[in-house]
Structure formats: structure tokens, C-alpha cells
């Protein structure tokens, strides 16, 4: 309900002015989605930590089996992609549609690398017999990274639509660009936490 009220108060404002105070980037209804999604992932993270405490040895053994290299490269890839999305959004707002198009293209390419790398991570693990049925750590690993992967794929589709919007003959809709960017950054944030929880912590 507050979303509607906020939309009412901010939506009519000038969306092109980045320095305007109290500007909600993108559509407020997308923020409703993003915050809800962050909360659901949050519940997953916290329950993961709780069950980790029940059997630390099993989880520590699981951490050691993950491929830290691919995990780290994927993190850098997503953060880089996020940077280009942020730069692209700024360019689109400044009216430089060709620049924005190029930047979003790079972001899309980086984003597309993520599922590919993930594939190279999953396949050796599954063939080595580490499946969701192995133990609770791997169940969490596959469920959380799998859910995140679904979000990445959806995000790639959204980025394609943003690019089409920027390329189209009509003037690009900045609010749509911002909406797509917001979603993509959320995917990035979730991965940053996942990276720490699955690959880094001891």
C-alpha cells in the first residue's frame, strides 16, 4: 500500500534529474519485488547459518569442496556487469543513448558469462557425485545458487529488453532502464552474500 502512496508522491517528479532528492530509481513496484526477493533470500541465508551451526563439520567439509576460483571469477564478472549497468543508466539519463547502448551491451556480455561459468562449476561437481542429495550443505548450495541462477537468467532477459528500449526508434524510457538496472544490481547483491556464505566463510 505504501508503494502506491510513494509512487504518487515521487512518480510525478522529474525522473531525468539524478540529483533530485527523494528520487526512487525505477518503478516503485519493481522495488516492491526487489525488497521482497531480498527478504526471501535473507530467510534462506539465515536458515543456512542456523543449520550450519547444527553440523559445522559437514558444512566445513562442503566449503572445502567448492571451486573458489570459479566462484571468485564469477563474483568479479557480476560486479563488473553491475558497473556497466550503472554507467549505462547514467549515460541514458544524460541523453547519450548510443553510449548507453554500448555499455549495456558489455554488461549483457559479462552477465551472460556467469551462467556459462556456473555450468563449468556444476558439471564436475555433479559428475563427482556431489548432488543436492549428498548432504544439507550441498542441498543449500544447489538450491541457493540455483535460485540465484534463475534470477540471473531472468535478469539477462530484462537486460535484452532494456537494450531494445535504448535502440528503438522511440525515445528510451528512462524509468524502464532504471527498473532493469535495479533488478540487475539486486542479483549482484545476492551473489555477494552468497559468495561469502558458501565459498569464503569458515
Amino acid at each position: 500500500m505504501t508503494e502506491i502512496a510513494e509512487e504518487f508522491s515521487t512518480g510525478t517528479g522529474n525522473t531525468r534529474n539524478v540529483d533530485a532528492r527523494r528520487h526512487v530509481p525505477g518503478e516503485p513496484s519493481m522495488w516492491f519485488f526487489v525488497i521482497g526477493d531480498l527478504i526471501i533470500f535473507g530467510v534462506y541465508f539465515v536458515s543456512y547459518m542456523y543449520y550450519r551451526g547444527q553440523d559445522q563439520d559437514m558444512f566445513l567439509q562442503g566449503h572445502a569442496k567448492l571451486n573458489l576460483n570459479i566462484g571468485a571469477v564469477n563474483t568479479v564478472v557480476l560486479v563488473t556487469s553491475s558497473l556497466f549497468v550503472a554507467l549505462g543508466t547514467a549515460a541514458a539519463r544524460a541523453g547519450k543513448a548510443p553510449d548507453a547502448l554500448r555499455l549495456f551491451g558489455i554488461a549483457l556480455a559479462c552477465g551472460a558469462a556467469f551462467p556459462l561459468l556456473k555450468l563449468f562449476e556444476y558439471i564436475p561437481e555433479i559428475t563427482a557425485g556431489m548432488t543436492p542429495g549428498t548432504n544439507l550443505f550441498f542441498m543449500y548450495y544447489y538450491v541457493m545458487t540455483g535460485m540465484h541462477l534463475c534470477h540471473v537468467l531472468l535478469g539477462l532477459v530484462i537486460l535484452c529488453f532494456v537494450i531494445r528500449n535504448l535502440r528503438g526508434p522511440a525515445k528510451p524510457r528512462i524509468s524502464f532502464v532504471e527498473t532493469g538496472a535495479t533488478y540487475w544490481h539486486m542479483v549482484d547483491i545476492v551473489w555477494l552474500v552468497l559468495f561469502a556464505l558458501l565459498y569464503l566463510m569458515r
Binding site: R22, I35, Q56, A64, S82, L87, L200
Partner: protein, 108 residues
Amino acid sequence: MKAYLRNPLTFVWALLTAVIVSSWAWLTALATDVRKATEETFATMGGAAHHLNTTITVVVLLAAAVKAQLVIWLFMEVRHAPTWLKATTSGWLVALFALLLGFYFAAQ
């Protein structure tokens, strides 16, 4: 292109990447001996485990919180957003990491 290099967002990105890469290098160096054992036993599920390490966990989780906050604040432009949005995202972040660390230490 120079304008992009000088863009504050690029500095943020460089900072994020530096943190990621250094934690990667740090943990790789720490775990070299363990990893060797792990790769040998990759197929058999017995493999060596990491050791419980509170320092690593706290550093890594706090770094993740800072990274997430940077992305929210600067990439997502919540810095310019109305107060309710700032409060919601910060509240999420603080609550999440408080609970994560709380459950982590509750198990020790």
C-alpha cells in the same frame, strides 16, 4: 572513455574488485595444503575439511556487508532515494548480517 574511467562508480568498482580478489588470494594461500588434499579426494566424498576460523568468517562477512552496501548505495542509487527506501534497504542489511553473525557465534 576517459570520462568513464574518472567516474566515481568506476572507483567503487575497483574497490569492490580489489576486496574480492584479495579475499580470494588470501583464502587460496591459506588453504593450499588443504586444497591439495581436497583435489586428490575430489571423487571420494571423504575429502579434507576447512578448519573453523572465526577471524576469517567475521572479516569475510563484514566485507560482504560493506560490498552489498556499496552496491545498494551507489550502483542502485539509493543514496538519492527517499528515506523509506534507505531505511528499508539498510534495515535489511543490518538485520541480515546481525542474524548471520548471531547464529554463527551461537553455534560456537
